[in-house]
């Protein structure tokens, strides 16, 4: 027993014995519980060669092996500096047509929302907003870089106004500088609001509601940009701009200073500034996806009616109790995710007294970015692959009035395009690669922060717990969907 280990600490052999006992008990319980695969609505899950929970164990083994390889072969920081090279010149004039396309699509969303049919599968708005915009843009940003900033309708509109003003010799100067204390909190609030709309609000499938909210958001963005400046607000105040640019840090491509740059994979994430709200932002992204998965699973479906009946007992009219219960669920999911990260941070704090827990949480926040992406990709991949095809016929018939602008109005969603089993393997692969990337980022940061190799390795044991925990949680949520 180590000298600093007071009698309250477990000895190693006791810990191992207790762990083994807990393992046996839990395995027995798990064996008694019917496997989730058989009850899934997605038939492919039943054809898995092993129970779904074994995938979590296999993933844990892969993570442990990655941890060993990183600890032994990666002995100096490789991602902390700038490792990039200029590929080609990028004409700034391209932002004008890109902005025009973004504005045209935004106008279509508004028009279709008010003039189109209200049935959600026949209106362009629902698929475009919840599938293409909310899922497709962040996933494509990881491949292509932060392309949304060029297409952002509110940014394009504000830049257009500024250009017009300059021609008329009217120069607008933002009266306020962006306050440091606000950090990324507006992005956090915006994402929570959108998640609430998509997952909880009862009228989420009403195109006219979506159009009204989009207009309100547009006005809010213009106000923010007028007060704090276009670029400052686009990066920190725009929920979608902030979210997409965060995930785009994982991309190897970056457009800035009039050029296209190629950078070392993952090195973009290390330059994530430790502003206020950064930790909350990544935790909220993971928490939102966690709730989306859990809301289809057995735990929340068992608990939700009880929480709902509590709110009904307060005399609230429908659908408020249901919405409030789900809001509690959303907050709980974020709390679970935050607790998991907190365990890792508190563990790392025991390794060295040099860093406080808040500082550690900020320093390692960027390691959660690939996990956030992995959760988004794994959770929404099937939605993007299947429901995303609907945009083909909706482009020709956006209002649902029977038009056929591009000759694609008779297209259908091909569900046989990719089988459920293939999707499951892609989800597992996405979760694994995201967490291995997170582990690599954390290891690299630990080497840069800790003075001794021993402290760096010890701190990474704790991050390994976090990564294995998030991977297992993600796989459990995916397997529990539709149970």
């Amino acid at each position: 027993m180590s000298p600093d280990c007071v009698p309250t600490c477990l000895s190693f052999s006791t810990a191992v014995r207790r762990s083994a006992a807990i393992t046996v008990v839990l395995l027995t319980i798990a064996a008694l519980v019917p496997p989730p695969a058989g009850a899934h609505g997605i038939s492919g899950r039943a054809s898995l060669p092993v129970p779904a929970w074994l995938f979590a164990w296999a993933a844990a083994i892969v993570l442990v092996v990655s941890f060993v390889l990183l600890s032994t072969m990666w002995s100096r920081p490789r991602l902390q500096g700038i490792h990039e090279r200029r590929l080609i010149r990028w004409p700034g004039a391209l932002s004008v047509p890109a902005g025009a396309i973004g504005l045209a699509l935004f106008a279509l969303v508004i028009y279709a929302g008010y003039e189109g049919v209200s049935y959600y599968t026949a209106n362009f708005d629902i698929t475009f907003t919840y599938v293409i915009f909310w899922v497709g843009v962040p996933i494509s940003s990881v491949v292509l870089g932060n392309w949304f900033s060029a297409f952002s309708p509110w940014r394009a509109f504000a830049r257009g106004l500024r250009r017009l003003g300059a021609r008329a010799r009217v120069r607008w100067r933002p009266p306020l500088s962006y306050p440091a204390w606000l950090g990324r909190w507006p992005v956090v609030a915006g994402l929570l609001g959108f998640a609430w709309l998509e997952l909880i609000y009862h009228n989420r499938d009403d195109p006219s509601v979506l159009a009204s909210l989009a207009l309100a958001y547009f006005a809010l963005m213009l106000l923010g940009m007028a007060l704090f400046g276009i670029e400052a607000w686009s990066e920190k105040g725009d929920a979608f701009g902030g979210y997409f640019s965060l995930l785009a840090r994982l991309s190897s491509l970056d457009v800035r200073q009039g050029a296209l740059w190629l950078r070392r994979p993952l090195s973009g994430a290390t330059s994530l500034s430790e502003e206020r709200g950064t930790v909350a932002l990544v935790l909220v992204i993971i928490g939102i996806t966690t709730f989306d998965g859990a809301s289809n699973g057995v735990v929340w479906n068992t608990l939700q009616p009880h929480v709902q009946s509590f709110f009904s007992g307060l005399g609230l009219a429908d659908p408020l109790p249901d919405e409030l219960a789900d809001s509690v669920g959303l907050l709980l999911a974020i709390a679970v995710v935050a607790c998991l990260y907190r365990i890792g941070v508190l563990g790392m704090r025991t390794v060295s007294s040099r860093f406080g827990s808040a500082q550690l949480a900020r320093t390692f926040a960027h390691t959660l970015v690939p996990i956030a992406f992995a959760y988004v990709l794994a959770h929404y991949f099937s939605l993007l692959v299947w429901q995303g095809q609907a945009i083909g016929y909706l482009a020709s018939n956006p209002l649902g009035h029977g038009t056929d602008y591009f000759g694609t109005a008779d297209w259908h969603v091909d569900y046989a395009f990719l089988g459920s089993t293939a999707i499951w393997y892609i989800q597992v692969l996405a979760l694994l690669s995201g967490h291995v990337s997170g582990l690599a980022l954390a290891h690299d940061r630990a080497l840069a922060k800790y003075s001794s190799m021993q402290d760096a390795v010890r701190s990474q044991y704790w991050m390994l717990v976090v990564m294995v925990g998030f991977t297992s949680l993600g796989l459990w949520l995916l397997s529990a969907v539709n149970t």
């Binding site: 280990c5 477990l10 810990a15 798990a30 979590a56 600890s71 735990v299 044991y461 459990w476």
Partner: protein, 115 residues
């Protein structure tokens, strides 16, 4: 003060967390939680070991890392030896010759200062 219970923050947090957990069990979510435990077991086992302030395999990892670091420069120097044996690469010419001479022996500091 005597006669009063001293409640630590940890105990207080546990006391706060206990009722919801009990409610979870009471409402029949226990089978699902057991199912979740099957998924989370590897993380839980590792967590238990770390909570006991044990880092399984730490010494082996550190020694392997040390050996790996020692091996890498040797491998590089071996590569150079092979390059040195391969004819043309052994004899520097032109700019490389000047550079290698300068790198081998810099001018004396006093002379450099006078210049």
């Amino acid at each position: 003060m005597t006669g009063r219970l001293a409640i630590s923050r940890r105990t207080f947090a546990l006391a706060l967390a206990a009722p919801p957990l009990l409610c979870l069990g009471a409402y029949g979510a226990l089978p699902a939680i057991a199912q979740a435990a099957a998924y989370l077991l590897p993380a839980l086992v590792l967590l238990v070991a770390l909570a006991a302030r044990r880092y399984p395999g730490e010494q082996a990892l550190l020694s392997m890392a040390g050996r790996w670091r020692q091996r890498r420069p040797r491998a590089r120097s071996a590569g150079r030896t092979f390059a040195g044996l391969s004819g043309r690469a052994a004899s520097p010419r032109g700019g490389t010759l000047i550079a290698s001479s300068l790198a081998g022996r810099a001018p004396p500091l006093a002379v450099a200062a006078l210049a």
